[in-house]
Amino acid sequence: MRPGARATLLVLWLLALAGLGWVVSQRLRVSTDLRSFMPAPTTPDQRLLMEQVGDGPGSRLLLLSISGAPDAQLAGLSQGLVKALQHDRRYSQVLNGNFDLAALDSTLLPYRYLLSPTLDTQRLDEAYLRDQLQQRLDDLSSPAASLLKGLLPRDPTLEMLKLAERWAPAKSPELRDGVWFTPRHEALLLVQTLAAGFDPGAQQHAIDGIQHAFHALPGSAAAKLELSGPGYFSVVIGAQTRHQADWIGRISTVGFITLLLLAYRSITSLLLSALPIASAALAGIAALTVAFSEVHGITLAFGFTLLGVAQEYPIRVLSHRRAGEDALQSVRDLWPLLLTAIASACIAYLAFYASGVNGLKQLAVFTIVGLLVAGFSTRYLLPYLLPQRVRDVATMGWLIAARRWVDHLPRPRWIPLLVALAIVGMLAWAPGPFWQNNLAALTPVPPAMLRMTRACARRWVRRTCAICWCFRRPPRRACWRCRNSCSRRLTCWWRSMRSTRSNCPRVICPPSRCNANGNSGYPIAPRLSRRCTELCKACHFAPTCSSRSLTTWKRRVGCRH
């Protein structure tokens, strides 16, 4: 090939790479949610598990402790942090023990009558309503007025307060200066992030926000903020893995380049042999951006490792070429072997696609496209660019000498025996159990950090939630009965468990659209409406108030009118 044509080919290839690079930079959206590496849930149990693992309250909870200053200052920092974070959209809840009615999830308000036990035993009849309204009148003239005023129009029987009392844990951390404290003088906070627990990117964003807010508080320099929880772990694991991968990657890159330079002693060959692999990577990512809306970070990291196989193709071409042989001819001779290697690797990676796991599917698309591009560019583009002449390294004096030295090294027959004995010895005297059954041992989280979290969690609850009963989509009519019977059964079960000092189970009803007019304590809507208007009037509640309260009642209870 003429030098001019070679230069044109090289420029065109580089331009194509630049174009691909531009497309990738425009379209690539990297996600970090680890759930895309888990199989898609198929049964209700699996769906529940996946929901809880990713978006469940447990996985989105960050435990914070502030220590290292006098209690009063820590309490101030705790309050300051709550104030700074509570209107941040990254966090759904920020709690430090300072009770506030606003801390109750407002999405529960519409379901207060379904959740609270009041109507299990009490009919919402005239006598009850009158008594309740009279009590609210008394409340309004008492010091508690300011506390309840906001809640009254929507919740005249104060069900939200009953729910708050019902759900308050039997044992909660000690309150000092209005905030949670441990006996070891650490102020405690709970932050629930909006981001899923196993999305390290989003969790990092949330944790940065907390740390930034904390350091912006006056007097925070003396105190120490510690974090824990699944989200924090995913960030720590991510950073640790990235650090190790970077470190290993740097060493192997330097080693690889040294090896190639040593073998071929030509920078041109080295740079040219990088072209197929660069094309493979860019084409792979471009294919991903076309096929998927988001590309997972792990797909990219792991995919590049798998794509390392493709580096072998140009190396084969360089190594198989004898001195004086034409590059194109050499590649033609090599092609059947190379094609077999490419095809077998592609078939192997195709298995990833069959797994049905989104992350692995992406991995398959990336590697297969990459391998094909690397293989075909090695066959149809690279030979035209390689230098006409190559030196055969086999004729070099020092290499022959080195070969001779290696050949003359002694080969004692007792070495395999010694190695086998050493292995048996290591198996016999290895510290720790021979067979590890503990799944938790697989976590890369440092053990000290895990211990701290367990200790931290123990300060809130004596026992972790062990049993979760879920009732899926009860029939519309049966919803009310189901809630009642499930509540009764749980109470029975709890009584039988009392000796174990477990916490009382909480009945949390799903926000199901159910018509509770049937067998419940609710009167039929028009009757309730009429009665309530009369009562409100008798108790001097302003008409605007009573009608507002009524419409919300009607709507929320599921009245048809």
């Binding site: 309004l140 008492s142 300011s146 005023k149 509640f541 302003a542």
Partner: protein, 201 residues
């Protein structure tokens, strides 16, 4: 004792301090009260009457005799509410910023502690030659100010006659104190109480 004229408000001046010092009483101090609350929730004001007591320190007792007996005690950062025939109710003072404000202003007024009052409120005093005066307290904490816009105390010489708590949402509580407590109208209006508070005894 009141030096500033009605047209020149003084900002926490020495005259306000003199006034507050003169208002101070030794604990325990009791005063009858009648309260009318104008709430948007209700179509007519809520009227209660009873006795307010400062028991020393941060302890305040509010006993209601009419229309129904009820006692509320604020002590050690906790509010305890006792009502006839009902369960005793407790809640933390932290949950009700309005109450904290009430406690601060009351205790400071009754003990004559001008420094404490100044810590929590911006104070403005006006008065006239006949000895009638008005103290307007505006909470310094913006979080509290979101609930309580201002407190106005009207008095003559060394006696407080009225306390008006203007809440930020437009609701108003008017407390007639001392001898004025007996003069609560059967159907009070904001205007009538206003005249009553600012009139001379």
């Amino acid at each position: 004792m009141v030096t500033a004229s009605a047209s020149e408000p003084a900002v926490a001046s020495s005259s306000a301090q003199t006034l507050l010092a003169a208002l101070g009483q030794p604990a325990p101090a009791h005063t009858p009260f009648a309260e009318a609350r104008f709430l948007k929730l209700l179509d007519r004001p809520l009227v209660v009457s009873g006795q307010l007591s400062w028991l020393g320190g941060d302890k305040l007792e509010r006993r209601v005799d009419h229309p129904q007996r009820e006692t509320a005690t604020i002590a050690d950062g906790e509010v305890t509410q006792q009502r006839e025939g009902r369960h005793v109710r407790h809640f933390s003072l932290k949950r009700a910023p309005q109450l904290q404000v009430l406690l601060d202003s009351f205790v400071a007024l009754l003990s004559g502690d001008a420094a404490r009052l100044q810590q929590t409120f911006g104070i403005r005093q006006t008065g006239d030659a006949r000895g009638a005066w008005t103290l307007t307290l505006v909470p310094r904490d913006p979080r509290v100010a979101k609930a309580v816009a201002s407190i106005r105390i009207d008095g003559v010489r060394d006696q407080s006659r009225c306390m008006l708590m203007q809440e930020a949402d437009g609701d108003l509580a008017v407390d007639l104190l001392g001898p004025l407590a007996t003069r609560m109208p059967a159907e009070p209006t904001r205007e009538a109480l206003q005249t009553l508070c600012q009139g001379m005894p």
